[in-house]
């Protein structure tokens, strides 16, 4: 089958590609997302079928795998409630601080979100790596910054802006480009009443890839491997607050400054091996406290 054979046209095409490569993102963003979605659309049915095959070859990493459906569902409900409880506790602490200051009025924080289940249809390797493609988009109300969770309360990332009508990109929490994340270490409850007595500790985590995040602490007193780490970052949506990032994997001293501590947090689920996620889609007009969820310069924090 004859194809364009002129060497001149080939050179022009290569020069055009070089020019496109040199253009800043702002020059391409108005049209490249739509074009990419159109190019990807014919591949979606095949990719969905192959994703099913992939899950048969290598079982996805989902919480409570192997348990009976009823038990699994009950545990996920429990985790979801635990997540809500953690989020409310954080909110109560915040409100208590604000009451002390009486700096101004803020509307009450209601739920403000609803869940949308999505299938991961794309998570190829190559460069740039790491983003997950899911099969819901702006048509289903998904917007930038919406938190993405699994298992009721395990946060695995957030929606990047630039999605299409039926396709969105998820930035995994362990992606180094996510920037620093404010989190709260909550020691494991010990015995009865331990929940009330626990002392939480703030920490700023830096994603390291491979499901790990690393943070520095002034003191390691009260932090032990196995402690839960919750998201408590004002830059994220209210629906993400209190969601579980993972557990403290190891605790040690900083080589550069032995007076300070270093903790390694491991996410409980591998974002690269999840098949279904739940996006906490924002409901307009509900429960969006002023000043929360706007990250300004995004990950350049």
């Amino acid at each position: 089958m004859p194809f364009v054979s002129s060497r001149r046209i080939l050179v022009i095409a290569l020069a055009g590609a070089a020019l496109l490569s040199a253009l800043p993102q702002s020059s391409q963003s108005p049209w490249s997302g739509t074009l990419a979605a159109d190019l990807w659309a014919p591949l979606v049915p095949g990719a969905s079928a192959l994703a099913w095959v992939r899950d048969r070859i290598r079982a996805p990493s989902e919480p409570y795998q192997g348990l009976p459906e009823d038990l699994r569902s009950a545990r996920e409900d429990r985790d979801q409630l635990q997540g809500e409880l953690d989020a409310r506790q954080l909110r109560v602490e915040e409100l208590e601080r604000e009451l002390g200051e009486l700096s101004g009025f803020r509307p009450p924080d209601r739920a403000g979100w609803q869940p949308r289940r999505a299938t991961v249809v794309e998570r190829g390797g190559g460069r740039p790596a790491g983003l997950l493609g899911i099969d819901i988009g702006t048509n289903q109300g998904v917007g930038e910054g919406d938190p993405v969770v699994i298992g009721g309360n395990q946060i695995i990332g957030e929606i990047a802006s630039g999605g299409a009508e039926n396709r969105s990109w998820v930035i995994p929490l362990d992606d180094r480009r996510c920037g620093r994340i404010d989190a709260i270490v909550t020691p494991q409850a010990s015995g009865k009443g331990g929940n009330a007595a626990r002392q939480s500790m703030l920490v700023q985590l830096v994603p390291q890839g491979n499901r790990t995040l690393v943070g520095e602490l002034e003191t390691l007193a009260g932090v032990n491997p196995g402690d839960s780490v919750l998201l408590g970052d004002a830059g994220w949506r209210p629906a993400a607050q209190g969601m579980r990032i993972g557990v403290v994997e190891s605790v040690g001293k900083l080589d550069a400054n032995p007076l300070r501590g270093r903790i390694t947090v491991r996410m409980e689920s591998d974002p690269a091996r999840v098949t279904h996620v739940v996006v906490k889609v924002r409901v307009p007009g509900e429960g969006q406290p002023q000043g929360q969820g706007a990250r300004g310069a995004g990950a350049a924090k």
């Binding site: 089958m1 004859p2 194809f3 054979s5 060497r7 080939l10 095409a13 290569l14 590609a17 496109l20 490569s21 040199a22 253009l23 800043p24 993102q25 391409q28 963003s29 490249s32 074009l35 990419a36 190019l39 990807w40 591949l43 095949g46 990719a47 969905s48 192959l50 095959v53 992939r54 070859i57 290598r58 249809v121 794309e122 998570r123 190829g124 390797g125 190559g126 460069r127 740039p128 790596a129 790491g130 983003l131 957030e158 990047a160 802006s161 630039g162 990109w169 930035i171 992606d175 180094r176 480009r177 996510c178 994603p207 890839g209 690269a272 969820g293 990250r295 995004g298 990950a299 350049a300």
Partner: protein, 199 residues
């Protein structure tokens, strides 16, 4: 080369890369099949057809791998067309330059060319991303970490892709006559080549 065969095979390969190949990931290294397809085409097709195939493939790869930019509420996924197009062209060029001294009808040769193709494409991509990072991108296109670490990781990816490519390469070699390549056939000779059109 018969483009009506290349395009569906490319679609299949890209779907496999996006959906199935992560199942074979080892230690975060995911094998890819697109270097195999590109190496196979570059081994047998005419020079211009191979470069065109690389550019088409690169265009789709760009569409599948958005970069991260600065957004208002969250980092923005922006599809940047161009880097993979040039990277794939570089990978194809590498195979085109080496194919003259290779015994092509061997599966291991295709695997070796797959490694070369993937490696040079990766180096070209990281070089382009490095240049873009100086003025255009808030985050490097290769993801997190240093460029050197990205090259090291991609060398392993290329090796893994080449190993995985051996079996599908055998399948592609057995379909050689179907592709209508300019430099391959059951009884390839200059006379045959003249009748294949300038593809």
């Amino acid at each position: 080369m018969r483009w009506w065969i290349f395009i569906p095979v490319m679609a299949l390969v890209l779907s496999l890369d996006a959906a199935l190949m992560p199942a074979f990931a080892i230690g975060g290294h995911v094998p890819q099949l697109w270097p195999l397809l590109l190496a196979f085409v570059s081994l047998y097709a005419s020079r211009s057809a191979a470069i065109w195939a690389a550019m088409i493939l690169g265009f789709w790869l760009d569409a599948m791998h958005p970069a991260l930019g600065v957004g208002i509420d969250a980092p923005r996924a922006v599809v940047v067309f161009g880097p993979h197009v040039l990277a794939c062209a570089a990978g194809a060029w590498c195979v085109l330059e080496t194919r003259a001294w290779l015994y092509r009808r061997n599966v291991l040769t295709v695997a070796f060319s797959t490694f070369n193709c993937a490696l040079l494409a990766s180096l070209a991509f990281i070089a382009i991303a490095g240049i873009r990072g100086l003025y255009a991108d808030p985050f490097p296109l290769w993801g997190g970490g240093s460029g050197g670490a990205a090259v090291g990781s991609d060398v392993v990816d290329a090796l893994y892709s080449a190993v995985i490519a051996i079996l599908p390469a055998w399948g592609l070699q057995s379909t050689l006559t179907v592709w209508g390549f300019a430099t391959a056939g059951p009884r390839f000779a200059g006379g045959n080549r003249m009748n294949r059109g300038n593809d």
